[in-house]
Symmetry: C2
C-alpha cells in the first residue's frame, strides 16, 4: 500500500463552484470537506451539531445574531450547535469544514443554495 | 459577545515543547489540538478511533507497517483506528490533530512520551 495525503491546495484547484462542499477525508463518523465561498451565504443553523470552519485563503466573516467572527488564513472557529449563522466571503474564500457525516450546508434553512452530497474528491 | 477565532500561528507561538498536544478548540465530543513535533515519536495505535493529522509547517512522515505517508504544509492524513503508526518529524513540525476527547498521544504504547491533558490554550 502507498497511502497518500490529502493536499488541500490540489483539492481546491480541482473545482470552481461556490458554496458546494466536497468531502476530501473521513474520520470516524465525521467528514472533512473543502468549500469555495464567494459573497453572502444564507442564515441557517444545525440543530444537532457544532461545525468547524478553518480558513485556508481569503477572508470569511461568520455573522451571528450576537456578533461576527472574522477569519483569515490559518484561523478557525467552531459554530455551536443550534446557533444561527451566515457566512460571508469577502472575495473568494477557501475553507475547510469538519462536521458529522450527513450535515447539509444550509441546515434548517434549505433553499436554492442547498448543495448535494459530493464525495468525488475523497 | 465578541467571539474570537483560534489563530493557529498565535497558538503555535505560545509554547515550545515537543510532542505535547494542546487543545485549542472543541467540536461536539472532539478536540482540535496543536502539537509541535521534532524527531521520532513512538510506535502506537488507537484502538477505538481514527486520528486526523494536518501539517501547518515542516515535514512529517507518518510511518506505518505497510508504508509511509509524507505530509507537508497544507496536507492532511487520517490514520485509521487500530493502525500502528509512528510520526517522525524532519526538523520541527507544527501540526493540528483532531480526535475524540480523551485520546492519549501514545495510545496503547504508553511510556515517557505520554503527555498530560492540556487545554490551557482552548
Amino acid at each position: 500500500m502507498t497511502a497518500s495525503p490529502v493536499d488541500l491546495s490540489e483539492r481546491f484547484s480541482s473545482f470552481t463552484e461556490h458554496w458546494s462542499p466536497k468531502v476530501v477525508a473521513r474520520m470516524n463518523d465525521y467528514e472533512v470537506k473543502v468549500v469555495k465561498a464567494h459573497g453572502e451565504f444564507t442564515w441557517h443553523s444545525h440543530a444537532d451539531t457544532d461545525e468547524l470552519f478553518l480558513v485556508v485563503a481569503g477572508r470569511l466573516t461568520i455573522r451571528m445574531r450576537d456578533g461576527d467572527v472574522a477569519l483569515g488564513p490559518g484561523q478557525l472557529f467552531v459554530v455551536p450547535r443550534g446557533k444561527e449563522h451566515c457566512p460571508v466571503a469577502d472575495g473568494e474564500v477557501h475553507a475547510v469544514l469538519i462536521e458529522p457525516t450527513g450535515v447539509v450546508n444550509t441546515g434548517d434553512a434549505g433553499g436554492p443554495l442547498t448543495a448535494g452530497y459530493d464525495d468525488s474528491l475523497a
